[in-house]
């Protein structure tokens, strides 16, 4: 070695070598050559290398993602498989190992292997770069997808909320509609009852008119409730020849239990019961009876409720219909 070690370029580069900041492979090779031959340089290298290693402790520890540990251990499993696979020995290799022209072939192999490694290294670098680019693209795609999903999720939540609101409104409307339908059904039922009553009344009226025309009856008296407003009404028709008469009534309420309606003809203050009858569901009845005396001998007619089969000489119940006879 020429000059002092301090002036030796390779010795000066030991610091740069351990810090991996030398500019060229030639400089690195010079340092490695020096270290391999000079004990002082070896000690200098060891001390500086250890000091450089401590610089890593000047960075605060940072926990890597937990998956990294698993990933490394998984990779060792595959690596172990690779390393346990013994490479097959080719005839060429055996030829080379035989020692025949060993040095020449070895030199060629070194060049070939070095070239192959160089090509492979370059190819691997390219592949790693390409993979990194692809990974970045995928990360961006994942990020975009995540944003889309978040947006879709928000839209979906809004739609769900809107649908819930509409369903609640529909439920409320349906409840109202149900009540309306129920009310309408009740009205229809009542209308049906009223219609039946009307049909029956018309049938009775028609029958009475028919009878009156056919049999020569004459309507003599219209009865109504004289004491309180009521829908009830009645009439008495008398045959022109003979003592046959017909009494028809509408709109009477159902009599009390054990009671029936009684038709009275009253003459000279003396009531005379001529018929006892019940009414249909709509309060109608048509009763044929024989006049005890000509109708003109009676001044009025009345309808009261009396116990069934126990009609006295005088009305005991309230008068629900009455009229003067003509």
């Amino acid at each position: 070695m020429t000059g002092s070690r301090e002036e030796n370029q390779a010795f000066e580069n030991i610091a740069g070598y351990v810090l991996n900041s030398l500019d060229s492979d030639a400089e690195r090779e010079e340092v490695e050559e020096l270290i391999s031959t000079d004990s002082v340089a070896q000690r200098e290298h060891r001390e500086m290398n250890e000091t450089a290693g401590l610089l890593a402790l000047g960075v605060k520890p940072l926990a890597p993602p937990a998956r990294l540990r698993t990933s490394i251990l998984d990779q060792t499993r595959f690596d172990a498989v690779d390393s346990t696979t013994e490479p097959s020995v080719s005839p060429i290799t055996r030829f080379v190992q035989s020692g025949f022209a060993a040095s020449a072939v070895a030199a060629v192999l070194v060049l070939v292997v070095a070239g192959t490694f160089g090509v492979q290294n370059s190819r691997l670098n390219n592949e790693v770069g390409q993979l990194r680019t692809e990974l970045n693209s995928e990360l961006q795609a994942v990020s975009a997808l995540r944003e889309e999903l978040e947006s879709s999720k928000t839209d979906s939540m809004e739609m769900v909320n809107q649908m819930e609101s509409e369903m609640k409104k529909m439920e409320s409307d349906f409840g109202s509609t149900l009540a309306q339908v129920s009310h309408q059904e009740q009205m229809v039922s009542e209308l049906s009852v009223a219609n039946n009553a009307l049909v029956e009344a018309l049938r009775d009226q028609s029958w009475l008119t028919y009878v009156a025309m056919k049999e020569g009856y004459q309507i003599e008296s219209w009865l109504a409730n004289q004491q309180a407003p009521s829908d009830a009404s009645g009439l008495i028709a008398v045959r022109v020849v003979g003592n046959e008469a017909v009494f028809q009534v509408h709109g009477l309420e159902q009599p009390l239990p054990g009671h029936a309606y009684t038709l009275w003809l009253i003459g000279n203050g003396d009531p005379n019961p001529v018929a006892q009858f019940t009414v249909s569901e709509i309060g109608s009845a048509t009763v044929s009876f024989l006049l005890p005396a000509p109708l003109y001998l009676y001044s009025s007619a009345a309808v009261t409720q009396e116990p069934i089969g126990k009609v006295d000489h005088d009305p005991s119940g309230i008068t629900v219909l009455s009229a003067q006879t003509n």
Partner: protein, 191 residues
């Protein structure tokens, strides 16, 4: 086997016998350190994970060939980590596809699953090394920062600091020597 009770070199010997549990123990001891160094230099979590994985795979493959006369295990480990990270940094410069912005060095210590004792040791080591760095003259400290943590070559440092190349080399050498003196006092047997 109680791996936690084994020394680093004992674990490394088991790694040489392809004992995965031994590698797992070494990872548990130094994974945070390696990852932190890569993250400090690369400022990129994904790349730092790649570097950390490569480093421990190197330990897995080369553990059996490690000779203790080469120095401490951690020196060897951090040397692998540093060189691998430098390679990544310089590849980025070539690709110019990524930008390595200056980063804040004052990352918080991630305790993770570290025991309080380990966290205390880590904090102590960190404080001593940072103190030794702060004690360096500004020019020497700058050279260490640019070479070790930024991955610049000596020529690049000379251009960046507008100093002669020889001056950079001298400052680099003096800085390491001064650091060694400081840390041998502070950390005793470690250096």
């Amino acid at each position: 086997m109680n791996y936690q009770g084994l020394q680093d070199l004992e674990l490394l010997e088991l790694v040489g016998e392809k004992d995965r549990e031994a590698l797992a123990e070494l990872y548990d001891r130094y994974g945070r350190r390696v990852f932190a160094l890569a993250a400090r230099m690369l400022n990129d979590s994904v790349s730092s994970e790649e570097v950390t994985q490569d480093v421990f795979m190197s330990v897995w493959r080369r553990g059996g060939t490690y000779a203790s006369n080469k120095g401490k295990f951690t020196t060897w480990l951090f040397s692998i980590a540093h060189n691998r990270t430098i390679d990544e940094l310089r590849k980025r410069k070539r690709d110019r596809s990524r930008q390595n912005d200056d980063i804040d060095d004052h990352l918080n210590i991630e305790s993770g699953d570290m025991s309080p004792a380990d966290a205390a040791v880590a904090q102590s080591e960190y404080a001593k090394v940072r103190e030794a760095m702060e004690d360096l003259p500004t020019e020497q400290k700058q050279v260490i920062e640019l070479s070790y943590f930024k991955g610049l070559t000596q020529t690049e440092i000379a251009e960046k600091t507008d100093q002669p190349l020889g001056t950079v080399k001298t400052r680099m050498r003096l800085a390491l020597k001064k650091l060694r003196n400081s840390l041998s006092t502070e950390m005793g047997a470690q250096v």
